[in-house]
């Protein structure tokens, strides 16, 4: 059973890699808000046009997955630093993984639906 568990050192590598990758995709996401005046970039037609752009939709999906993994693993690390016991560690891990899956699912639904929406 122990052999099947992912080692914490491996999890830290994933944490660092997702952090660096998220930094890159978030930078692109912010630049997309700045290629035109900020207020204009938030208009419904422009935002939907972003979702219709397939490479950008993939970028949004990867950003969603990367930040969810990095963020909820970070929360798991903080909670494990605060208290240690087998039940607490298992509970925190299960809850953070469940929250991660839920937010990825909800965000993916938005990307898919917005991708199929008509403009205006």
């Amino acid at each position: 059973m122990e052999a099947n568990k992912v080692r914490e050192s491996q999890i830290m590598k994933i944490h660092y890699l997702t952090g660096i990758a998220a930094l890159v995709v978030v930078a692109v996401h912010i630049m997309m808000r700045l290629i035109m005046p900020y207020n204009l970039s938030l208009e419904y037609e422009n935002v939907i046009a972003n979702y219709h752009n397939m490479p950008y939709a993939f970028l949004l999906e990867s950003m969603l997955v990367l930040i969810a993994i990095h963020g909820f693993n970070g929360l798991r690390i903080i909670l494990l630093e605060m208290r240690q016991s087998k039940a607490w560690e298992s509970g925190v891990t299960i809850l953070t993984i469940a929250a991660m899956i839920a937010i990825i699912g909800y965000g993916t639904r938005t990307i898919i639906v917005a991708n199929g929406l008509e403009m205006g």
């Binding site: 930094l23 938030l42 419904y44 963020g71 929360l75 903080i78 965000g107 938005t110 639906v113 929406l117």
Partner: protein
């Protein structure tokens, strides 16, 4: 946690109970927030966690906020009315500062965990300053703070500058 007992061994080899204290050393969140032991590294440790939790909260809120798109232009406009306000822009500025600090300090931590910038181990001489807590680490923390301030200023110029 089980109580710990401190014994004194007398000359005759007899153990005398001196103190019985419940030594629960798990300070939890109070340990984080206790400022009495703060150095630059401890402030950075605390800020890294605080900004991380703040950014996770913003991320969840942002995913929810953008989901209003799926309910059509009116729902999107109603959400913008709620978020594109001076208070909403102030929160966004805070998020810009938090994300810049978290990223820059996180990169410093990745290097540190890889053994970069820690200095060479040396003989422990008085006053026993840790070699690892050196100017490289401190300047990394300052660079993260300065970058966060610069990003917030740029963000303010975009959000409040009417661009």
């Amino acid at each position: 946690m089980a109580p710990s007992y401190i014994y004194k061994v007398c000359t005759g080899g007899e153990e005398v109970l001196m103190e019985a204290i419940d030594r629960n050393n798990r300070e939890g969140i109070k340990g984080w927030l206790n400022p009495s032991r703060y150095g630059a590294e401890r402030i950075s440790y605390w800020l890294q966690r605080l900004t991380g939790v703040g950014l996770l909260g913003y991320f969840i809120g942002h995913v929810y906020e953008t989901s209003s798109l799926t309910n059509g232009p009116d729902a999107w406009a109603a959400m913008l009315e709620l978020t594109q306000t001076p208070m909403g822009h102030m929160i966004l500025l805070l998020v810009i500062g938090m994300s810049t600090f978290h990223s820059a300090n996180g990169i410093r931590l990745i290097f540190t965990q890889g053994g970069k910038g820690l200095g060479k181990p040396g003989r422990p001489d008085y006053p026993y300053d840790a070699v690892s807590l050196n100017y490289r680490q401190k300047s990394g923390i300052w660079i993260a703070l300065i970058l966060a301030a610069a990003a917030m200023m740029y963000g303010a110029s975009v959000l409040f500058g009417g661009e």
